[in-house]
Symmetry: C2
C-alpha cells in the first residue's frame, strides 16, 4: 500500500468526505469507472482513499484549479454526483485546498537488493 | 456518523495519510489520548478520520497556522510522532493546506419533528 506521491507544493487538493447510505445499487461500478477516468485527467497528481464504516475520505491532488474544475464538470462525474445525492450518500462535503507544505516519513526497507 | 462541520473558508487543514505496520502495541491507547487532546486545542475546528486496510487518512481543521503548529509541537504529539516512526507506521505524509472553498450536500431527513 502506497501513499500518493506528489510534487513539491504548491499544488491543489480536493478533500471529499462522505457518509454512505445503505444503498449499494450501481455504486461500485460507478466508483470503478470514476477512478479509471480520474487517473486520465490532465493535471491529476494522485489520490488516497479510505472508508471506515459509513465514513469515507478521498483526497485527490491536482496541479491547478482549472484541472480540478474539469474533473468536477466531467459528464460521468456530474452523473455520479447526481446519483450520489439521490441514492448513495447521506451527506458529503468537498473542500478545495491549496497544499502549501508537505513532509513525511518512510521506513527504511529491511530488504537488501 | 457526521462529517466535521467547519466555518466559512478560509481556514486550514492538515491531511495526515499513513500506512500502518502490523505492530499494535500502544497504538490504540495513544490514538485515544491524542484525539482527546486534539479536541481541546485552541484553533481546532474538527476532524474526519478513516482507515481501510492499512491506509488511513485523518484530516484535521484549524483556524490558523499557529494553532496547527502548536498541535504539531504538543509534547504528547511529539512523543506519538517518535513512536509512530519507530513502531506503528510504515510511512506517512502530512500535507498542510489552506481550505479555499467548501460545498456539500445533506439528505433531507425523512423524520418529521
Amino acid at each position: 500500500m502506497q501513499i500518493a506521491s506528489t510534487p513539491e507544493p504548491p499544488y491543489y487538493a480536493a478533500v471529499f468526505t462522505s457518509v454512505r447510505t445503505d444503498i449499494d445499487e450501481g455504486y461500485y461500478d460507478m466508483n470503478n469507472a470514476l477512478f479509471a477516468e480520474l487517473s486520465k485527467m490532465q493535471g491529476y497528481l494522485g489520490h488516497d482513499s479510505a472508508r471506515e464504516n459509513s465514513l469515507g475520505i478521498t483526497v485527490s491532488y491536482w496541479s491547478d484549479l482549472e484541472s480540478l474544475k474539469n474533473w468536477r464538470n466531467l459528464p460521468l462525474h456530474q452523473n455520479a454526483q447526481h446519483l450520489g445525492r439521490e441514492k448513495w450518500y447521506e451527506s458529503y462535503k468537498v473542500r478545495i485546498c491549496k497544499v502549501e507544505r508537505e513532509y513525511g516519513f518512510e521506513a527504511q526497507s529491511t530488504f537488501e537488493p
